[in-house]
Point group: C2
Chain length 308, copies 2
Amino acid sequence: MSLARDLELRHLTALTAVAETGTFGRAAQRLGYTQSAVSQQIAALERTVGAPLFDRPGGPRPVTLTPLGKILVDHAGAVLERVDAAATDIERFQAGTIGRIDIGTFQSVSTALLPSLLARLRAERPNIEARLVEDDDHEELVRQTIDGHLDVSFLVGDTPADIETIDLIVDPFVVLALPDVVGDDAVPAPLLNDTPLIGEQDSPCQRTVDQGLYAIGVTPDYVFRTSDNSAIAAMVRAGMGMAVVPLLSVELEDPRIAVRHLDPPIPPRRIAIGWRRDRTLSPAAERFIEITREMTAELRDRQLASIA
Amino acid sequence: MSLARDLELRHLTALTAVAETGTFGRAAQRLGYTQSAVSQQIAALERTVGAPLFDRPGGPRPVTLTPLGKILVDHAGAVLERVDAAATDIERFQAGTIGRIDIGTFQSVSTALLPSLLARLRAERPNIEARLVEDDDHEELVRQTIDGHLDVSFLVGDTPADIETIDLIVDPFVVLALPDVVGDDAVPAPLLNDTPLIGEQDSPCQRTVDQGLYAIGVTPDYVFRTSDNSAIAAMVRAGMGMAVVPLLSVELEDPRIAVRHLDPPIPPRRIAIGWRRDRTLSPAAERFIEITREMTAELRDRQLASIA
DNA sequence: ATCAGGCATCAGCTCCACTTATCAACAAGG
DNA sequence: CCTTGTTGATAAGTGGAGCTGATGCCTGAT
C-alpha cells in the first residue's frame, strides 16, 4: 500500500473528475466509464491512501472532498498537468517543430556552409535549437559523435564503421592569383615553385595543402601566413603572390582574383555529414540533414558552373 | 494511443530505471521484476508514444536513450518527483503534523480562549496553519461551517441538526462592581435598578445581556458604553457604576474589582465547539478539538474556584 | 568458432478492471 | 407516512492486461 508504488494516473483523473462534477455518475459519464467503475476506482485509491477521500452524504446530494481529498486533488492537478505538458511536448518533438541539435563542425564549414543552413532551418522551424561544437580535429568530432555529445557532425576523411555518412560536396584545392599572371586554364604545378605563396597559419587544413603540394613536386615558399581567409584574398589582390586554398573558403564574386584548378590537382577534401549508426535521430536532426543535402547539392551545381 | 490517456506511472519508473542502469535486466532487478516484464513495459510505453525510446545496440553493450527517450525521461523525472512529494505530504497530513484548520470564532472566545489554545497547538504541531474567521453573528458561523468554509467553529446557542457539537464551558453573566458597594454574596437584581451601568456598544452579546436584565425586572441605565472590555473594567474601578458582562471577558486578577453572580441569574451562554456532522475532520482539526476540550476543562475548574 | 551477455518473444496463468444487475440509503413530495 | 427518484455500494461474471519462465536470436569477446 505504499503510495508511490500503487498510485495510478487513472485513479487521479477519476478523483479530479468526481471532485469537479460532484457525483460519481457524472464523473463516469465524462470519462466514458460506468458509475460502478468510478466507484471502484475511488475505492481503490482510498485503499492505497488509507483513508476516505470523499464524504458521501447519501441521497441525491453531491459528495464532498474530505480534507485529505482536497490535498490529494491539489497534487493530482499538478501531476496531471505535468503529464499533459509531457504529452504536448512529445507530440511537438515528433512533429519536428521543437528539439535541440548538437552539430559538429570545423572552420571552413562553419564559415561557408553553416550560416545559410542554419538560417534556413531557423526560418522553417523557429523553435529548434542548434548548438555548434567547432573543432578542426577530425578525430575529436568523430569521438563526440560516437559518444553521443553530437547528434550529427560534418566530417572529412575516413570514418569508423559505426558512423554513417552522406557525402555532401567535394571541395577541391584551387589557386588564387591575379588574372593577368595566369591563363584561363589550370595552373601548372611547377609554376608554384617560382612564385611566393600566401597561406594559412598551421592548421589541419594547411597541413593537407602542404602535403599535397609536396606530392606534386612543389616546395612552397610562404611569404605570408594568416588565419584570416579574407586577408589571404587581400594579399593575392595586392600582388604579394598566389595562394592554394579550399574552394569553399573562396568568395567567388571578386573579378580581380582568378580562381584556377591545379594541374595536377591535389586530392580534394570530401566533406560529408555523419552520425552514429544505429542511433535514432530526432526528426529535427533528420530535417537538418535533409536541408544540408539539398543546399549542398545546389552549391555543387553553382560551383561547377563558376569555375574554369 | 493518446498519451495522457494510456500513460502509466509504472512505465515511467521502468523508463528511468532502465535509463539509469543501462540494461533492462538490472532495471528489472532494481524494481523487483523479471527482465521480461521490463521489456514488455518499455515496449508498451513505446507503443503509446509511437516511437522507440531506446536504441538497443545488441550484444553486451548498454542500451541508450533516443532523443525522444531523453525528453520523456526528463518529464518522467518531474512527474515522479511530484508524485513523491504528494506521497510524503499525505503521510504527514495523516500523521497530523501538517494541515490547515479554518476556525470560526467570536470576540470573547478570540480574546479569552484562542490565544492559549493556538499557542499550545503551535507548540505541539508547529507546521499546522490555523486561520481564524471572526464573526459575532452566530448564524453566519453556522452557515460557513455547513458550507465547508470552516472546519470547526466556536458556537453559542442552538445549532441545526447537521452540526455536531461538544459543550465546552458555561459562561455566566456576572456583575462587576467596587468591592465595598457589594457584599461577598450574589448581587440582588433590584440593586441594578438603582445603579448606573456601564455596558458594551450594541452587539449580539450586549443584546443578550439587556434581554436577560429585562427578564429579571431590571431596566438598565447606561451611563457609558464602549467596545473595549478593559475600558469597562476601568470605569467600574473609577466608581462610575457597575457592569454586567460574560465571565470569560473578565481579567480575574484585579483585587480592586469584585466579581459577583446575579440573583436571580441571567441565562448564561453555553459555549460549544461544533463541526459539520458526517464530514470527515482532518487529524489536525481533531487534535485541535481535543486540545480545546482539555484546556476548557481546566479553565472550568479554575473558574469555579475563583468566584464566590 | 564457441561462449556469454543482452533483449525479444511466446505460452500460460493469474489477477485486475470493467460491465451488468441489484441493493441500500436518503431526500423530497404527495 | 409512504412512495419515488437519485445516489453510491456491492456481487458476479468476463475479458484483457501483466507477470513469469523458457526459449530464441543477435552481438561482441575470448
